[in-house]
């Protein structure tokens, strides 16, 4: 069982190794496998809990879709909004730290959503309370400090994708 | 068709913008007022320097230079984490 767990980590490591080396000579291809297996052996216990999920093609396609959506639409909107605020001479900001509920359980899901939130300008996860399933988000434009508004505005867009990828 | 002049001119336009941004970050680092402010500015400066280094590598036509950028990104993150831990906890190792 442990040996199978190596595979997803090894694939990730191998891709990084080859991309970073920038060459596909025999030397790199062979040594890349060695390095990948080594890294997988050392770290698979820490990283992988369910091999089936990690190797599923469907989840991978959802990850790609999410990446495309996130990197083009979500980021673009958020950037545009914040740039307007910075360049506006009056600087219309309305900041505050608000509770934001979420509905996922998996570690990776929680962290992916949190990182997505932080990476969109305008929202930063300050704290994560796993017991109450709440992010504390510093939001630059607090529309209303109640959980429903914050959930709609901050988390909802990412949660659907992330549930399909990691849950 | 050679793309070299086009690439060089694109890069030539970006370099002054980057330098201006660095100066602004630098002012924030000097002004502070708190430690997290400074670290945040150092952080942003270093991550932007990653781009700048790779772009300079292309500009100088030295394709082996940019390997540096990855290490810069890694250690900048580490620097953030060290400061965060310093502010948060009583012992750095605990």
């Amino acid at each position: 069982m442990k040996l199978v767990k190596i595979i997803p980590v090894a694939i990730l490591t191998y891709i990084i190794y080859i991309v970073f080396s920038g060459s596909v000579s025999t030397y790199d291809l062979v040594l890349g496998v060695v390095v990948a297996v080594l890294a997988g052996y050392l770290t698979s216990e820490l990283l992988v809990s369910d091999v089936g999920k990690a190797l599923s093609i469907k989840r991978f396609i959802w990850l790609m879709l999410y990446g495309v959506y996130y990197l083009t639409i979500a980021e673009f909107k958020a950037h545009f909004d914040l740039i307007k605020r910075i360049l506006n001479p009056k600087m219309p900001i309305n900041p505050g730290i608000v509770r934001t509920p979420y509905n996922v359980g998996n570690d990776y899901s929680v962290v992916t959503i949190a990182n997505s939130i932080t990476n969109t300008p305008g929202t930063v996860v300050v704290h994560l309370d796993e017991g109450r399933k709440t992010y504390y988000v510093h939001w630059i434009d607090v529309k209303a400090p109640d959980p429903k508004t914050t959930y709609e505005n901050i988390v909802k867009a990412f949660e659907g994708y992330v549930k399909k990828i990691f849950e | 068709m050679s793309l070299e002049p086009l690439i060089t001119s694109i890069i030539m336009y970006t370099i002054p913008i980057f330098i201006l941004a660095y100066i602004l970050y630098f002012i924030r680092i000097l002004k502070g007022p708190t430690v997290p402010d400074r670290v945040l500015a150092v952080d942003a400066l270093a991550f932007d320097l990653v781009v700048f280094l790779i772009v300079l590598g292309i500009y100088f036509k030295s394709p082996v230079l940019p390997v540096v950028a990855v290490v810069l990104a890694l250690w900048t993150y580490a620097f953030d984490i060290f400061i965060a831990k310093y502010l948060e906890r009583r012992e750095m190792g605990g």
Binding site: - | F60, K61, S62, P63, V64, L65
Partner: protein
């Protein structure tokens, strides 16, 4: 870019470097706190290393001392040695950086022990405590 401007800029950076050396020497010798002394020492060694690299630089367009052709002919090698910067100072500095790092780490450990024994890192107080 004109040559005069280049000379001015190179001299400006050299003088800044020398100023860094001076400031860090001041930090080592005159600041009382040992941590501050260590920070100044790291900057001092860095500046010395940068000086060495600067001595081995050559006027652009120059390339790093890495040959990009794995099966070079004589012309490739000639072209390479006509444009690459001096590799020897880089190798020396590589050695010097590691050596400086090792010594500084040991100094940090000693400073920690100083704090354990004296309860302070102020050089003046340490001298007074000895009595």
């Amino acid at each position: 870019m004109s040559t005069e401007l280049d000379i001015f800029l190179a001299n400006l950076s050299l003088i800044s470097l020398i100023a860094i050396i001076g400031v860090s020497l001041y930090g080592i010798l005159a600041r009382p706190n040992i941590v501050k002394k260590i920070i100044a020492l790291t900057i001092f060694t860095d500046a010395a290393n940068l000086l060495a690299i600067l001595v081995g630089f050559r006027r652009p367009p120059s390339i790093p001392p890495v040959l990009l052709n794995l099966e070079p002919r004589a012309t490739d090698i000639a072209e390479f040695s006509a444009s690459a910067v001096d590799p020897l100072p880089q190798a020396l500095v590589l050695t010097a950086v590691v050596i400086g790092m090792a010594v500084n780490m040991l100094i940090i450990f000693i400073a920690l022990q100083v704090y354990r024994l004296y309860g302070t890192l102020d050089a003046r107080k340490i001298r007074r405590l000895r009595g």
